[in-house]
């Protein structure tokens, strides 16, 4: 299913809402959105994943890149990821580096 992403930046928080399926093709779009933030004084990245139905390792790679690019101080919140995506985050240990929440602000 087609991937879509919307970004809203407010103060030091970037909020992205992801829809559809995140594979190695659509991850390029996500990557470009993250790249745009580099050099900006972003402290918090909120990823709204309620409508994201699939995420491959290409999506994980963008998460890792975000932290490297924006800075290690960056706090990443993942809002309402679907159960099977949480599974992927846990299996690969990425849940140690992001905070999974039901809403943001928490």
């Amino acid at each position: 299913m087609a991937f879509k992403i919307e970004t809203v930046i407010e103060e030091q928080t970037a909020r992205m809402t992801l829809h559809g399926e995140l594979d190695s093709l659509s991850a390029r779009v996500f990557m470009t959105e993250i790249e745009k933030l580099s050099g900006q004084p972003i402290e918090v990245l909120v990823l709204d994943m309620e409508d994201l139905d699939f995420m491959s390792s290409a999506g994980l790679r963008v998460l890792i890149f975000s932290k490297q690019k924006i800075g290690t101080h960056l706090a990443i919140y993942i809002v309402k990821p679907q159960e099977l995506i949480v599974d992927t985050l846990e299996k690969t240990g990425l849940h140690h580096s992001v905070t999974i929440v039901d809403q943001y602000p928490v």
Binding site: M1, E21, D23, S24, L25, F54, S56, S57, A58, L60, R61, L63, I64, F65, K67, Q68, T72, L84, T88, K91, T92, G93, L94, H96, S97, V98
Partner: protein
């Protein structure tokens, strides 16, 4: 064996996952097993397309062969690229996976997720073709 071809480009991944979804439904796989199989096949197909074909300038299709038995759904990805055995590499271990996000090398997660996600995964190179085989057990109610 049912067989279907896809062009070896990343644009095919979407349709590939949809096709795996159909096969899983026919075989009676549960939702979670279906997702894991889609993920595993998406990962290996992505590698075939990016590393096997695009990187070296090969323009070719890849095939999905499948068979549904009473006990299992068997899916085979068959490609024309240079021989590559996903099982020959080291996959990340526990320690790698607990490292902080910012310190980690980005590689190896695709094959790791593939192996962890299916009931059986195997590889062979036959007649000048790579064959990656995925097996999911079907649990009959």
């Amino acid at each position: 064996m049912e067989s279907k071809s896809f062009p070896g480009v990343v644009d095919s991944l979407d349709e590939l996952r949809a096709y795996v979804g159909e096969l899983s439904q026919k075989a009676g796989l549960a939702k979670k097993a279906t997702y894991s199989l889609k993920l595993a096949i998406d990962e290996i197909a992505t590698n075939i397309i990016l590393y096997g074909y695009e990187k070296v300038g090969l323009v070719a299709d890849f095939k999905v062969l499948s068979e549904i038995t009473d006990q299992e759904l068997i899916v085979i990805l068959e490609d024309e690229a240079a021989a590559f055995d996903p099982l020959a590499r080291e996959i990340p271990d526990e320690e790698d996976l607990t490292m902080a996000l910012e310190d980690r090398e980005i590689g190896g997660l695709g094959i790791f997720l593939t192996i962890k996600g299916v009931d059986d995964f195997s590889y062979e190179y036959v007649d000048g073709k790579n064959r990656n085989t995925f097996v999911m057990n079907v649990i009959k109610p």
